[in-house]
């Protein structure tokens, strides 16, 4: 009982967190019992997973089928120069365990599809979206809504970023963007540039929101979206609400199962948000 529930190493490792009144031993226990799925071991998923593991989130799942490329390294801090060519889930697991051997890392080394998304996501408490493409973004949104899982969403392109938390019943990605734009309208993954520290910032924000959800503290980033313009150094928030006409979470939903979209990339800015 009491202190014996934590090992001496755990008390030392998490002491600066346990000291927080909002965390304490009970909160640390919640973190150790939590299971978080990170979609993508990329620019957003890297800092998110690192901080979640370091905080002692007991189980961190990583979904990624890709291998580490040299061009990933300027932002994907789970991977190091010597990891180029390795599977990202392997490189990610190794990095996370070096930060904190207390954590169980679950490797989902496969593309997320309409066939496996429900079974991969269902054991987890919270999902962190670090997907860099539309098919996965919509798939994760839809699966989390259908499974009733909170989704900590983040999105970046060049110097602009967005972050929000979707809680089922309080709006979803399709309330904002009902369907993916047709391929060709947005730049492909390889064409789109990004400043490396930008996903770093947003991934950290996603880790913070995830920890808040697990602990049940503070005001989650729900029903609002944080917009960051790095060049202007400007943060702003817009209110989000559930769209009764949303094809997924609206009053008369038309989407009742997962859809596989054609592969393409990019981040659309809806007219309502783009016109500041």
């Amino acid at each position: 009982m009491g202190m014996s529930a934590f090992s001496d190493e755990q008390i030392q490792r998490y002491s600066r967190q346990i000291i927080l009144k909002e965390v304490g031993g009970k909160g640390q226990r919640k973190l150790l019992n939590a299971q978080v799925l990170v979609i993508g071991a990329g620019g957003l998923g890297s800092p998110a997973a690192v901080y979640l593991a370091a905080a002692g989130v007991g189980t961190v799942g990583i979904v990624d089928f890709d291998r580490v490329d040299m061009s990933n390294l300027h932002r994907q801090i789970l991977h190091h120069t010597e990891d180029v060519g390795r599977l990202k889930v392997e490189s990610a697991a190794e990095t996370l365990l070096r930060y904190n051997p207390d954590v169980t890392v679950v490797r989902h080394q496969e593309p997320l599809t309409s066939h496996n998304a429900m079974s991969i996501i269902s054991p987890y408490d919270v999902v962190v979206n670090g997907a860099d493409n539309f098919p996965t973004r919509y798939l994760v949104n839809d699966a989390c809504y259908l499974l009733g899982k909170p989704l900590v969403d983040g999105c970046i392109l060049m110097f602009d970023a967005q972050a929000t938390v979707f809680v089922p019943g309080k709006g979803c990605y399709r309330c904002l963007y009902p369907a993916p734009p047709p391929p060709g309208l947005v730049p492909s993954c390889a064409e789109a540039g990004v400043l490396g520290a930008l996903p770093g910032l947003i991934g950290c924000l996603q880790a913070i929101e995830t920890v808040k959800l697990i602990l049940g503290i503070g005001e989650p980033l729900v029903s609002r979206m944080l917009l960051y313009d790095a060049l202007a150094a400007d943060f702003r928030q817009v209110k989000l609400r559930r769209d009764p006409a949303c094809p997924l979470c609206g009053d008369s939903p038309t989407i009742r199962e997962l859809i596989d979209y054609e592969e393409f990339c990019g981040v659309p800015i809806p007219a309502a948000l783009a016109e500041h």
Binding site: M1, G2, M3, F6, I11, Q12, S15, R16, I18, I19, K21, G24, G25, K26
Partner: protein, 82 residues
């Protein structure tokens, strides 16, 4: 001088330094009921001021913080809040 205080639990944190003196006291108190009394023994002098201050910040009561002998101090806390 020894005011008679009913102690419900005692922990020996000799050899521990800050912040572990506070963290371990806090973890012990978390497992106790409101109104119960915890006695903490320390031999790290800064803890005698740091632990009571942090405990008061968390809304707990400090009943006593006193030197016991050449090396040890006692800090007596009552749990006031979860």
């Amino acid at each position: 001088m020894s005011i008679d205080i009913q102690v419900d639990r005692e922990i020996n944190l000799k050899g521990e330094v800050c912040p572990y003196t506070f963290v371990k006291s806090k973890l012990a108190l978390e497992e106790m009921e409101v109104g119960q009394v915890l006695r903490v023994i320390v031999d790290h002098e800064p803890a005698v001021t740091n632990v009571p201050r942090s405990m008061e910040n968390e809304g707990q009561a400090v009943l006593r913080a006193a030197k016991l002998n050449d090396t040890d101090w006692e800090i007596v806390l009552r749990k006031e809040t979860e």
